[in-house]
């Protein structure tokens, strides 16, 4: 790892100030991607601004059907929240299968979506639930947030502070793990929300997480796995690598979507 300077932020305002003072600095949340990337010398921020100790960024609050998850809330807390499981079990299930138990104790929802890894789980959940990403300066709809591989609508120095959404009528998530890394080779989140049916796919798209409108229309008129059987998945904009080519991923998208619908009930 290249040398870096560590700063522990005590508040969001403090973090923003620290970041402004260090142009080549990076925010550090759980660090489950960033520290590994730095170990491999694929990232070399001059400064790290640690957000993990900001109490205001942590925790899950539920008001009726309205859910707000603080950005520095670890995956294990989302997976283990009984209150959240009672109204949106799909997001708990998704969180409970990220990485491994040790990673889930450190990794955070804010870190995951700000990084927008094309094989990460949370982008599918956040997009599928039509969530709102709240930052230190504005609210961003999930449809506008994820822009490309490892790219988001976040501006320089902007901090994700929370993710909020209304609990859906029903939702489900299914993923096919890469057998070595356990990242999603393909993960599909389906949700029946007040604004309609949404299907979000991670792990497969050449531009990161995306919605599948064909699946959404089919499920809107018939919420069942069978409704997806005759809908084609275009492989032309899907990732192809040594783990799976685009055609195989296209098939997995359909299989995972069906499983997600079954899981949603």
């Amino acid at each position: 790892m290249y040398a870096t300077s560590y700063h522990r932020a005590s508040s969001v305002e403090d973090a923003v100030k620290l970041r402004a003072a260090h142009e080549e600095g990076k925010y550090l949340s759980g660090g489950m991607t960033l520290i590994s990337t730095m170990k491999q010398r694929l990232a070399a921020p001059t400064d790290l601004i640690d957000l993990r100790h900001i109490a205001a960024l942590r925790g899950i609050s539920i008001d009726g059907r309205e859910v707000t998850i603080g950005a520095a809330t670890p995956h294990a807390d989302v997976a283990g929240s009984r209150e959240l499981r009672a109204i949106c079990p799909a997001i708990c299930e998704l969180a409970s299968h990220i990485g491994d138990p040790h990673v889930r104790h450190m990794g955070t929802i804010g870190g995951s979506i700000a990084n927008n890894d094309p094989a990460a789980d949370y982008p599918a959940g956040v997009l599928g639930l039509a969530a709102t990403v709240i930052t230190d300066r504005r609210s961003i709809a999930a449809d506008e947030f994820f822009t490309d591989l490892f790219e988001t609508a976040l501006e320089d120095g902007e901090i994700v502070t929370a993710v909020s959404f209304d609990a859906p009528e029903k939702a489900g998530y299914a993923k096919f793990n890469n057998p070595a890394s356990r990242f999603a080779m393909v993960g599909v989140f389906v949700a029946k929300t007040s604004s309609g049916v949404r299907v979000a796919v991670t792990g497969a798209g050449s531009n990161g997480v995306f919605r599948h409108s064909g699946f959404e229309q089919a499920l809107a008129s018939n919420w069942s796995a069978d409704a997806l059987s005759n809908i084609a998945v275009d492989s032309s904009n899907l990732l192809s690598d040594l783990h799976a080519n685009a055609e195989y991923r296209a098939n997995l998208v359909k299989v995972m979507a069906k499983r997600a619908v079954v899981a949603a009930g």
Partner: protein, 162 residues
């Protein structure tokens, strides 16, 4: 150099290190506790698992400065006076190791599992809980057996105490 202060296995300890120093290297090289191992360079093997503020974490993927102020338990902190922790005893009894390199991480992971879900562990849960720990010798069967035995042993201990 930055001063890092930790409570390790019940004792306040501190040392100076560069900000880029990984927690596992700080524990091994500055604190001299070499029971925590480094088995890979990619956050996958779990040989470096310790408990930080009561939760299992991979100490190879956390900077020592990030951990400053926290309470740490390493493999050295488990056994009582001359007596193995029930999980350590179960690994011995059920031959849950061969070369032993992954064992500190396996034991710390098992203790975390039992802390969280003690008394309700199943083979399936244990295998899922070992997702982040790699053993290249045993094929995991005896590790799983040892963890289930320790869980049962500790649950009956809790019942007897009640």
């Amino acid at each position: 150099m930055t001063k890092v202060t930790l409570t390790v296995n019940g004792r306040a300890m501190s040392g100076e290190c560069e900000d880029r120093t990984l927690l596992v290297h700080f524990i091994r090289e500055k604190l001299g506790l070499t029971g925590t191992h480094v088995g890979c360079d990619t956050t996958q093997c779990g040989a470096c698992v310790i408990h930080m503020d009561g939760h299992s974490v991979k100490s190879c993927s956390i900077l020592a400065v990030q951990a400053s102020g926290s309470t740490i338990t390493t493999i050295e902190g488990l056994a009582g006076q001359g007596e193995l922790h029930p999980v350590q005893a179960a690994f011995k009894e059920h031959h849950g190791l061969q070369c032993g390199f992954c064992t500190p991480g396996m034991v710390m992971t098992a203790v975390d599992m039992i802390n969280r879900e003690g008394g309700s562990l199943t083979e399936e849960k244990v295998r899922a809980g070992l997702e982040g720990n790699i053993c290249r010798c045993t094929g995991y069967h005896n590790i799983v057996k040892a963890i289930l035995a320790a869980d049962a042993e500790m649950a009956s201990g809790r019942q007897a105490a009640e």
